[in-house]
């Protein structure tokens, strides 16, 4: 049985509840503003469906804010319960023989004390909250686990990282709307109204672009680039990029500090694709934990170069098959070099694995 662990710190829970409530307040405000916008007169033609769409998004945001309020109230309830439990649990002797994960003995109630003095407590404390939804077994249970993991993953990352992730994901044509809205929410919550306005504008451009696209398709005009409107709007504010004189045939490049250079004169769809391609390189070079490794791996490892270039091209064009052959077609790596490194890595991995297994089994036997 996997123990659910929450932070046994009433103050922190209350602080989180306050923060959630503040975000909910901001979202309500954005939702109301969007609803007001929807009452403005829009010109006829392809813009006709926009007010209704804005009103729908506004209502969605308000509903989401209500859910956040509920979550905040739930957190406050948990904080109260934790306060009640706290005295009972911690006034007596230690309730377990060893800390969480200790090999000394199985803990009665898994716990771990954090460096700041707060305590993480395991099974039993979940009774502080309302009962878990009756999702039962099978897919529902897996979904619950997945949501739990996602929640823990999000909780571990600072808001800035989430914002950057939303900005990058917001560039995906036709699918960027929820990420742009999420970015707007995060930016409003940290008080950066200017950035939030840009994110909202990008989201609105997404809506308009998709609406125009649908309308044109209905009229039989065929596919256009309108759905990329939101992504194109993002280009203006994304990262540090500038035009530069690159060698003939080159479209763009990324420096080790994440700065993006674009071939002078590049415009339109090619600019957007190149920027998206470089954005992935840039993002990898700005993330502190992976930056150190990536900057060194790229020049020396053909396998890594292949993976990074294929991923960047896939993100840029949305065509996975073309992306898979891109690094080979353009000469970043050769098939022979790639295969030899992959085989070398597999042999080395197998060797290390075999040694570890031998060491483990010989240790058991003695």
């Amino acid at each position: 049985m996997s123990a659910q662990v929450i932070v046994l710190d009433a103050v922190r829970l209350r602080r989180a509840a306050d923060r959630l409530a503040a975000i909910a307040g901001r979202q309500t405000e954005i939702g109301s503003r969007l609803r007001q916008l929807s009452t403005l007169p829009f010109p006829a033609g392809p813009w006709q469906g926009v007010p209704a769409e804005l009103a729908r998004i506004g209502s969605g945001l308000v509903a989401l804010a209500a859910e956040l309020e509920e979550m905040a109230a739930d957190l406050r309830r948990r904080a109260r319960r934790v306060q009640e439990l706290g005295a009972g649990v911690w006034s007596g002797p230690a309730p377990m023989a060893g800390p969480f994960g200790s090999a000394v003995s199985r803990p009665v109630m898994p716990w771990i004390r954090l460096p700041d003095g707060s305590v993480l407590l395991g099974a039993g404390i979940t009774s502080a909250g309302p009962p878990l939804p009756p999702w039962g077994r099978g897919p529902g249970r897996r979904l619950q686990q997945l949501v739990g993991r996602l929640g823990r993953l999000i909780a571990r990352h600072p808001v800035q990282d989430l914002e950057v992730a939303c900005l990058v994901l917001g560039l995906i044509p036709e699918l960027g709307l929820p990420f742009n809205l999420a970015a707007a929410g995060l930016e409003f919550s940290r008080g950066d109204d200017g950035a939030a306005a840009v994110s909202l504008a990008a989201a609105a451009a997404d809506v308009v672009g998709v609406a125009v696209e649908v309308r044109l398709l209905e009229m039989g005009a065929g596919a256009t680039e309108s759905a990329q409107a939101g992504a194109a709007m993002r280009v203006g504010r994304l990262g540090d990029w500038s035009y530069a004189d690159l060698p003939p045939g080159a479209l763009g490049g990324t420096l080790p500090d994440g700065t993006i250079l674009i071939q002078r004169g590049l415009e339109g769809r090619m600019l957007l694709e190149t920027l998206r391609h470089e954005l992935l390189h840039s993002a990898l070079r700005q993330l502190p934990p992976v930056r150190f490794v990536v900057v060194r791996l790229y020049p020396w490892s053909r396998l890594w170069r292949y993976l990074e270039e294929a991923a960047a091209e896939g993100y840029a064009t949305g065509r996975p098959l073309a992306a898979a052959v891109f690094p080979i077609r353009e000469g970043y790596v050769t098939v022979r070099g790639l295969v030899s490194e992959a085989v070398g890595a597999a042999v080395a991995g197998a060797g290390v694995g075999a040694s570890a297994w031998r060491a483990a089994t010989s240790g058991k036997g003695s």
């Binding site: 004189d245 690159l246 060698p247 003939p248 045939g249 080159a250 479209l251 763009g252 490049g253 990324t254 420096l255 080790p256 250079l261 071939q263 190149t274 391609h277 470089e278 390189h281 070079r285 790229y298 020049p299 990074e308 960047a312 353009e330 000469g331 970043y332 070099g337």
Partner: protein, 77 residues
Amino acid sequence: MGRLHELVRPPVTGPQARELARAECERRGLGWEEPARVRRRLLVYEVWTASQRTGGNLVVEVDAHSGQIRRVRSLPR
């Protein structure tokens, strides 16, 4: 034996290949950007310009035996 020796220690050295690549880029009017990285494959040196940059590099292939320029290409992005 002689061929094996040439494979292990080819007549053209890495710094020489770098200079040959640089001269070829200048002759073609292509911008030469430092730092350049020289990497040896079996019979060919690969010289990458602006090696700290990801994308937009010039790659010059120099024959390790004769010093001839085999190919000059630029990486798109």
